[in-house]
Amino acid sequence: MNESSSIPPLTNPTIPGISRETHQPDPPLGGLESDRQPIASLITAIEAALREPRRLLFQLTQPNQGRLACNLLFVSLLSAFIYGLVAGTFSGGGQLLAAPVKIAGGLLLTAVICLPSLYIFTCLSGSRARLGEVCGLLAAFLALMTILLIGFAPVAWVFSQSTGSVAAMGGLHLIFWFVATGFGLRLLERGLHHHGAQGGMMRIWTILFLLVALQMTTALRPLVGTAPTLLPVTKEFFLAHWMESFQ
């Protein structure tokens, strides 16, 4: 190999052509007293996700993070199930069970499908997060997203009881889900930033996650409304299904 007196200093190189995000200065995780308080219970985990994200993100880097990640995953599945119950009240009957199972199951399946690409994108962005830590961050993202959906649930229920339009209810659920996902993604991005991620590579993963999740809602239809079969017999891309629904 060539000898060189001008080899540049070692930094994890970013993918060129993608602008770096600017962040407000944030002390390193664990730098504050509050970060280091352990999270022992489900309620504490929910509180931390909403009010003390630094504490949650720091605890997900600690040796017992597996248990916390499992708690967060449980919270996300339970919250998705509860929100699905609310969504199911639009049609009632069999949808009261089908909608929560499909929404919780679909969310889990979407996360599993997107996890390998999430880990790859975190590595490409320069993050030093291990696979276990990435799983924990994904669980935190899902937990915050679904906790916020629970917050929207009363609003969704009121609309469910006062409108008969499947398209309108579907659109409303999507809007709530987009807002909740936005907050969840912000937490995920913040967590990866603390692990050294730079640049805009995660935006590509965000688009992939949204596309997979939207397609999952069509693959598991109906979530709102009724159908002769539990799952669809024809395959459709979600845009085609939306256009049919709005006609």
């Binding site: 993918i15 690409s117 880990y119 790859i120 997979v212």
Partner: protein
Amino acid sequence: MTSDSSTFDLRQGATLLRGESEEIARWIGRGESKQLWFCLAAVFAGAGLFGAALGEWRSPLQALYGGIKFPLVILLTTAGTTLLNGMLAPLLGLNLRFRQSLLVILFSHTIVAIIVGGFSPILLFVIGNAPPVQASSSASWTGHGVVLLIEVGLIAFAGVLANVRLRQLLDRLSGHPRVSKRIMLTWLAANLLLGAQISWLLRPFVGSPGLPVEFLRADAFQGNFYEAVFHALKNLLHS
């Protein structure tokens, strides 16, 4: 990462993806065989999953064939250009031994394999939602077109990223951006030249709805990729 990490330590893949040039340069300098075995395993696993996902649209048998053939495209291309690329590197200003240049090229191909492998669950999900294959139906051809576009898009995306990392590694090894640029472009030209032809020989990967499921086409060794492109362009211009 310490030198006593196991051969199949997944963190080696993370190191490649992050482009930690100093660590990778140390691997090349040490000349241990465990990185070679790791790359081979990663290519078989990642490219195999991707090839299987592509073929799954046509049939499970095509998925099996794709899972075998896609890693072969990468490894046969690497093997076929090793001698040439190993000779070109010192001629262009970077004094690498053959084994070292093989490792460098294999590292970039491993990055491609890991990325496309990581996308294979998403690809499989998209394929699962595409219209099924029914001979001679327009929906089948639409589905075929969608799968082809996704395949090309993913491979292009992974290829660009892998070449960015290759360039960064060559910058580190050579210390001269002009040298590393020349070497990267030359290696890329050689790999594309042979890789396109090997892909042509080993087709199909997705499987056309109007043709039977086969490991290789009956006329695989008659003609070549560049002839086919030439004739296609000629027909287009004369139509």
